[in-house]
Amino acid sequence: MLKKIINLFEKEKYLGWFLIFPSMLIIAGLIFYPVLYNFYLSFHEVIIGIEMSYVFVGLSNYIDLLTDSGFWHSVYLTLVFTFSTTLISTIIGFFAALLLNNKFKGRFLVRGIVLFPYAAPVISLVFAWRYIFHPVFGQFNYLLTSVLGVIPEPIAWLEMPRYALIAVIVFNSWRMFPFAFLMLIARLQAIPQDHYDAAKVDGATFWQRLRYIILPQMMFVIATIFLLRGIWNIYKFGEIWLLTRHLNVLSVYAYRTAFSQFNQGMAATITTSMFLMLLGFIILYIKKVLKW
């Protein structure tokens, strides 16, 4: 009898492996293979031609990369872009969630509209924003020069490398705040009304309620948003490339190295370095901030 039960367990174990095998195969093909192939390429010089050939160069790609000032400038741009967009979009998302957590007429409609930047296709948004940032016709310059008088002359925001970073941060923060809003409002709605009522009885102001009730309960969600947005924005390519060709964040730097300078080996080294940096950041973040 006991043997029969053990046999049954054994059989079930094999069945389990059998059932997850297709998923494992897909994951291996779509994730492990590209990562490993990229790692392999980073130690080679890739000679492009009808017959591709690979020359082993050891660590020389890594040495060249670490001594390349262009790479470190890209690292700086990527970190500034990632940190500021994550911070700004989370703050806007947080206040939008607080605002739309109140009951008012048409709340559902407004919630839907708030999601628009996140749901709309990126290419149409980019076209609209390219127009907004245009030095002659754009509303952004009109606002800053003619209405507010903050700058004396219009600026080519997307075409000047020193301003392109600001323009891309503005665009990405606007586009991504609904994501933070969505996550935060879900958590906000889960806070029991009793807590607010009790605070009201104690005479707590809005800021005290925010500080002692809302924020402590939201911290985990905020930290998770930071982690996810951090991962996504460090790798961000499409939006940036479509908006401007003058912001050399790491993904753009890798793309240019691969397809404009035809140096696939070095491009693989850049992306491997990005991967390792991000892995380090995630491990540190999970241990120190999320405390998993």
């Binding site: 492009i48 009808i50 030095p135 002659v136 080519a156 075409e159 691969a258 404009s260």
Partner: protein
Amino acid sequence: MLKKLNLKFVFVVTLLLVLSFTINSVQAVEITFWSGETEEQRQAVIREMVSDFEAENPDISVEIVPIHESNLPDQIMAAIPAQQLPDVIELGLEHVLLMSNFDLLDVDVATDILNNIGIDDYFSGPIDMTTLNGNHLAVPMHGWVQGIWYRQDWFDEAGLDAPETWDSIAEAAEYFYNPPESYGIVTGTKADHYARQSFNQFAFSNNAYLFDEDGNINFDSPEMLETVEFYKELVNFAPPGPQDHRDGRSLYMADQLAMVVYSSFFMGTLESGAPELIEHTGFAPRMVKESEAVYGQFQSLGVPVTSSDEEKEAAQKLIEFMLTGDNYIDYLHMAPAGMLPVRESVANNPDYRDHEILNLFGEQHDDILAALEVANAFGFEHGQIFPQIGDISAQFVIGTAFAEMIDQDLSPEEVVERIQNRMMDIVD
């Protein structure tokens, strides 16, 4: 009951298999055509032409992929390792050389096509510029000339000369610069092909060449420095920040620009965007300083060596179909006066010449055609072809440095030094 169902199932599956086999055997060859025409109206013409071709050749099906010329180097470089190169590819001169540098173009197919169409009928310019070491790399399709398009009415009113010399260009640019109401000139200063193309004409008019006669990079010559100095001076009369042809086009159509460096496609663009400006617009294809310079380009069709024999045969049929008879004239009329014929018999063909827009040009059309014959470009200098221009142009070295010049307020000496060093790095 179950048995009956099973039998039916087997029958249907067998039928489907047989049908799919039959369909596959009819559609024997599928080829891909990377077209450089990305505008919807031109794509519609090409799609119709390709449908006619498929109707005539039921054993060939063609997939058209429109790719903008600025994205072409990236796409080619991504397609090589992925083994996804097309079977027919539209290429500018520098891209012909870029492909040729990687030994990717089938010169035998190109030669066959040229012989079938009639190589003697071609103007010498397009053939010379696509022939390297005696090999025809690609089949020239059409040409275009670049120059300065200007507001003839504004110039007449101000009593200014047509912008054909450096002095007249500078004088007009300054005269009409009255921001934000109007700007003097738009010329290329972004990291793209347009910047190299527009600067090229200024350089050649000052006898400044990118290569010396031995093929060394010669961007730091005194003539080139003088050209960059002049170019920077002109940029002062342009709208804020780096500019490209799209910026120039929008401003011109908005009545806010006196001059724009643009190809012969401009007239067609005006016709669809601001037809009221056509009669007020002049065109100066020749630029004079130390010598007279015309900048021109030829678009060609190439067949990559990576295609199979059947695919190459189908590609050859498609190219010959598009470049002969009425099809070729229909193709050129997609952008009348923009796409110029590369064959003498077509240039003189009444069917080609009888077109509303071409009639607007009148005698100037002949002048533009004549200019195309003497047109030149970086890399095609001193009667030689320097294939390194393919790699150099793919990296937008000149445009990148001009964008940096505006962003970082670089001196002309710094711009020249950066371009020289970067080009030497690429060539090395």
